[in-house]
């Protein structure tokens, strides 16, 4: 019989990994504490922006983002075909807008190295920028334009992934409650107990518990420095004016969605597991929106919400087997880029389930914060 896999956590990472595992012939069950996509994944702006999100250097994290970016179009196509749903992948392009003359030098630095990765990017003069994004404030003096960057509608993508998962026979268990036991051993497989869904047993487990992953540290011989960073985000009535690209500035970004809304995000708050929206957080976005897009001045957002991003100590995700207990795979800590990184994470987890070697020179290994501690052991 096919090997069985338990996926813990039903955000976009858990769903993507579950689908991938099922396609590779595993029998898969996902245990979700509350509702699928009810946390960070449902809150995201859905931007697929490896260049705008990596402005410093072509490190392994940039490569991971870029690989996932290249996987996206065919991955989305497959999701849409198999689910019969649209997820609104939109190749709007992005503009990183300069408001100071001093913004231009760092943009040139960025352009110089990013240009060599097969996606055209260019600097726009003030005039060219106005032609592409006419409603932008007069204070904008230029932009770095990346026509290839895209976005999806994250809640729709989550729904479609749930659909494709059911279609390939993944069992989706929502409202499973808290995890109270996780035991794994080479011969015995993995046992998991959830307060509201009883006990489960499988050959392997994939842990995709987002911002809550640090809380599972006690079950593993690992240091798991995953912490929540709250993102507050809001949307404006799209009939107020036109935003054609994803527009990035130092304080906020904007994306025009197919449903006509203009999404503006997002704060990075140190607020523990508190997911509430604060007046101050949303006011910040509203005020800055009015500065960058004058047509938004004085208009309150139609909707505001928040999500908890899974952040790590070094900003990179944790994707790999737990050393010593290879039945357990972690895929967490995707911070600001979990939507973008879903296809590549799923592919890596699929490979790990099939026993293939880790990739990216083990840059995302899950024990990288524990190594020195281990060495002080009895060895």
């Amino acid at each position: 019989m096919a090997e069985s896999v338990l996926v813990i956590g039903g955000g976009i990472i858990g769903l993507s990994c579950a689908w991938e595992a099922a396609k590779r012939g595993f029998r898969v069950t996902i245990l979700e504490k509350d509702t699928f996509g009810g946390q960070a994944s449902g809150a995201a702006a859905g931007m697929l922006a490896p260049f705008s999100e990596n402005t410093e250097s072509p490190d392994p994290f940039f490569r991971l983002c870029l690989d996932s970016f290249f996987l996206y179009p065919s991955w989305v196509h497959e999701v849409e075909e198999a689910s019969g749903r649209r997820v609104e992948l939109c190749r709007s392009g992005s503009l990183n807008v300069a408001f100071h003359e001093a913004d231009l030098l760092p943009m040139h630095t960025r352009l110089a190295w990013q240009q060599t990765y097969g996606v055209p990017c260019e600097m726009l003069s003030e005039l060219e920028l106005r032609r592409l994004e006419p409603e932008l404030s007069q204070q904008a003096i230029g932009a770095l334009y990346c026509p290839g960057e895209s976005h999806v509608f994250a809640p729709l993508l989550v729904d479609a992934l749930m659909e494709v998962c059911s279609k390939v026979g993944v069992r989706l268990i929502p409202h499973a409650g808290q995890l109270t036991k996780l035991e794994a051993g080479a011969s015995s497989g993995v046992s998991v107990t959830m307060t509201d869904a009883g006990s489960w047993h499988a050959d392997r487990v994939v842990v995709c518990t987002g911002a809550w992953s640090g809380l599972l540290e006690k079950w593993f011989p690992l240091t798991l420095p995953v912490h929540p960073i709250r993102g507050q985000i809001c949307s404006f009535d799209g009939t107020l004016g036109d935003i054609r690209h994803m527009v990035f500035s130092s304080q906020a970004y904007w994306v025009g969605k197919n449903d006509g809304s203009l999404v503006c995000g997002a704060s990075e708050d140190v607020a523990g597991f508190d997911r509430s929206v604060t007046e101050r957080g949303i006011n910040r976005l509203t005020k800055w929106s009015g500065r960058v897009f004058p047509f938004l001045q004085g208009s309150p957002p139609q909707r505001s919400w928040a999500g908890l991003r899974p952040a790590t100590r070094d900003g990179w995700p944790l994707i790999g087997c737990v050393p010593g207990i290879t039945e357990v795979i972690l895929a967490s800590g995707h911070y600001r880029n979990g939507i973008l990184l879903s296809p590549v994470t799923a592919a890596m987890v699929g490979d790990l389930l099939e026993g293939k070697a880790e990739s990216y020179n083990n840059a995302f290994r899950v024990d990288r914060f524990s190594r020195t501690a281990e060495r002080t052991g009895s060895g």
Partner: protein
């Protein structure tokens, strides 16, 4: 025995307890930034003015995470490519309420980001006249550092290596000359890779260290912040304590008697 140094560090009339300045850029998350700042014991933080919400400092993306912690702000002009731009940025920062300290950072080359010495000197002269407390980031040229001091810099900040490279102190000889001549504090800014570079700079006589990338991009920024804080203290103490001379051999004995091995070397004691 009291092992604490009575070792005040004065810049522009401010007495600082910590000789370690931190940049706030590139941290993996604001929580990590806060913890690193705490671990570093720093009192002075630097950030790029161009990235700040100058209309509303309390609302700024980065400053909101560091406000009300008693930090002295050292806004920087990074991104400026000439003196005019740097002066404009400094004025913007001051009128926005960021205080009157300014780190002059002027780079013309987008790949090395090496400071432009001539524009840096010009900007320093002008900003000093405008009553700023000016800390120019500069190359490690002793003559240039001296000229910046004469121009009225409150401290001079030579780079050990190009910014963000982590190559360490590429020219210890120059740094030694700079500190020997200086009558204002010398703060090594840029090029630091790990704690050993910090110790080296402090032992060479630097008065302080400014670091950003080697902390923010370390695998564990909080540990690295602490490591560098300790390195600043260790290096400073070591400098003050005075090291032993380097010698070629373990023993300085001139007694031939009782020697286990004969040797044909020509060098004596160092």
């Amino acid at each position: 025995m009291n092992t604490r140094l009575n070792d005040p560090f004065v810049i522009g009339g401010h007495t600082l307890q910590s000789r370690f300045f931190l940049g706030t850029g590139r941290f993996p998350s604001p929580a990590v930034l806060q913890q690193a700042l705490e671990a570093s014991g720093t009192q002075v933080i630097t950030f790029a003015v161009r990235r700040i919400n100058l209309d509303d400092l309390a609302d700024d993306n980065v400053l909101q995470h560091v406000a009300n912690r008693g930090f002295v702000y050292l806004p920087n002009t990074s991104g400026a490519s000439n003196a005019d731009e740097a002066v404009r940025i400094a004025r913007l920062a001051r009128s926005a309420g960021l205080g009157n300290w300014i780190k002059v950072e002027i780079s013309a080359h987008h790949r090395t980001l090496l400071p432009d010495p001539i524009e840096t000197l010009r900007a320093t002269e002008r900003l000093v006249k405008e009553q700023f407390i000016v800390l120019p980031y500069t190359s490690d040229d002793p003559v240039l550092c001296h000229r910046l001091e004469e121009a009225g810099a409150a401290a001079v900040m030579p780079g050990g290596a190009p910014i963000g490279t982590g190559l360490g102190i590429l020219n210890p000889y120059n740094l030694g000359l700079i500190v020997e001549e200086a009558r204002v504090p010398i703060i090594v800014d840029a090029g630091i890779g790990s704690a050993q570079d910090v110790v080296q700079a402090m032992e060479l006589g630097a008065d302080g260290i400014l670091a950003n990338t080697p902390i923010a991009k370390a695998q564990d920024p909080v540990f690295m912040a602490l490591a560098m804080k300790l390195a600043v203290e260790a290096g400073r103490l070591s400098r003050r304590a005075g090291r032993i001379p380097k010698k070629r051999y373990a023993s300085a004995s001139s007694e031939l008697k009782g020697r286990l091995f004969e040797f044909a070397g020509t060098e004596g004691e160092g």
